[in-house]
Amino acid sequence: MDLDNLASLEYFYPEIILAGAILLVIVLDLVIKNKRVIGALSILGCLASLGATLQLYSGPSGFLFHRMMVLDHFSLFFKIVALAATILVLWMSFSSREVASLHQGEYATILLSSALGMFFMASATNLLMAYLSLEMVSITSYILTGFLPRNRRSSEAALKYLIYGGVASGAMIYGMSWIFGMTGSLDYSQIHAALFQGQPNQLALFIAFVLILAGFGYKIVFVPFHMWSPDVYQGAPTPFTAFLSVASNAAGVAILLRFFFPGVSQLGPDGSWRFLSGVEWPQFLLIVSMVTMTLGNLSALGQQNLKRMLAYSGIAHAGYILMGLVVLNTEGLQAMLFYIVVYLIMNLGAFLVVVLVANATGKEEIDGYRGLAWRGSAVPAIAMAIFLFSLTGLPPLAGFVGKFFLFAAVIKQQFYLLALVAVANSVISLYYYARVVKVMFLDFPEASDGRVELNPGAATLLGLLSVMTLVFGIYWGPLVAFTSQSLQFFTK
């Protein structure tokens, strides 16, 4: 299926619905006084879009808009992830005192726009489209990062993010320009054909790939493209930080996989992928993966600020996710997709607790969590413990299953060193996750520590996320089926 512009629209309505929702929110923002309605409306828009996406999932695959985009299970999977993240973050935002001070209409609009950008990232099959979608996500992210008015940290973070993002995407398009020069095309399948048939200069190709990787890598936050993330995570409004940590990361993975797998490698009959000869990606990624998880975990150890700690933990998790890429086979990719879903659930949950605690105490530092289990409702503390232990990778929680698949993929390919490093990292990570748990449960609150109250909306969301973390830890069969189904690239 290779559709022209008009015919494409028929398969484009998730995006159209989302775009419509964005416009509607802009308009209604002018007339509606009760700002909560805007949030609800945005969620409704997302849900509608989600419905449409799911409907497409059972439909055909193919290229849209003259091969600018592709519609396949892989892209739909990431769209679902992006929508799920958006919905959950909007829901979370209701409970956030920080977000309540913001201009709701603009906040929702920009968040939805970012989600739309992620849609495009997931389905881009053209270097131009890839760049545009990436920038769409980036620019909205810069704005939301600096969205807290007259807030030092927020503005500073935004500036850092902007400069960093600008340089990264600049480097990326510079690299892309070399690819374009070598292949004469922006279209992935033509690039693929040109690269595999011709004799490209390997050094030029390598440099181009490294530059492109800089652009993708800073979205996924792996080393050495990770340094912005702690600052930005700490500075941005917490719900948006949550969004950034899961959705942006996922979209980065999507665009990376699309470019590097169907784009520049070939799928063998046994489910393993073969890169362009002469380009030592596995070794390179192996090192990147190990360094990323180790550096992330080590840096997280000393952190006092929960958001900052979660940022470093996010870097470490990016390292784990990369493990799936290193092995260059279907199991690895599937494990990555699985992990993304699981990570989305548990990380959003953790951020939700951060939001709740910040509401009650105004603190994001670890001492704000002192004796959390003994201050009012114990539910946030218990839920936080579940999320953190899941992030550590302890059974029977979802995080364990995610790691299990990654380890399995790695061991199957006999990358024992990588497995050992990852295992050592899991143990190190326990140290800082458990420190939070310790503070919440083993320490006792002081009189000055405020009580943490739960509103019904937040409680429901917290319950939902914890239950999902537990359920996917025990019965993950359907989720595995979904991810393996989603690992289907449309290339013809």
Binding site: G146, N151, L159, I163, G170, A171, Y174, G184, P230
Partner: protein, 102 residues
């Protein structure tokens, strides 16, 4: 002397490096943003040159146009942020903003 593709590529590379250098060495936020613009434009030169010297198609030119457009968008956002920064910190020295630290 005939102007070949190589000349353009070298020019692009030089501008890329200059942009990089600017970003790295300048402390003034505006200057840094201008460095980013340089990097983007170095890519543009490549695109246009490649498009010119390869057979057919205007993909490169289109790409360059989009880059220019996005550079403007980014600059708009960037300047807005710089303004906000200036309001808070009364400086636009990127080194002076050091709230976020380990």
């Amino acid at each position: 002397m005939e102007i070949t593709l190589t000349h353009f590529l070298v020019l692009g590379a030089i501008i890329f490096c200059l942009g990089m250098y600017t970003v790295l060495s300048r402390r003034n936020a505006i200057s840094v943003l201008m460095g980013v613009e340089l990097i983007l434009n170095s890519a543009n030169i490549n695109y246009v040159a490649f498009a010119h010297y390869s057979s057919g198609g205007v993909d490169g030119q289109i790409y360059a146009i989009f880059v220019i457009m996005l550079a403007a968008a980014e600059a708009a956002v960037g300047l807005a942020i710089v303004l906000a920064i200036f309001q808070i910190f009364h400086t636009i020295d990127v080194g002076a903003t050091e709230t976020l630290k380990n």
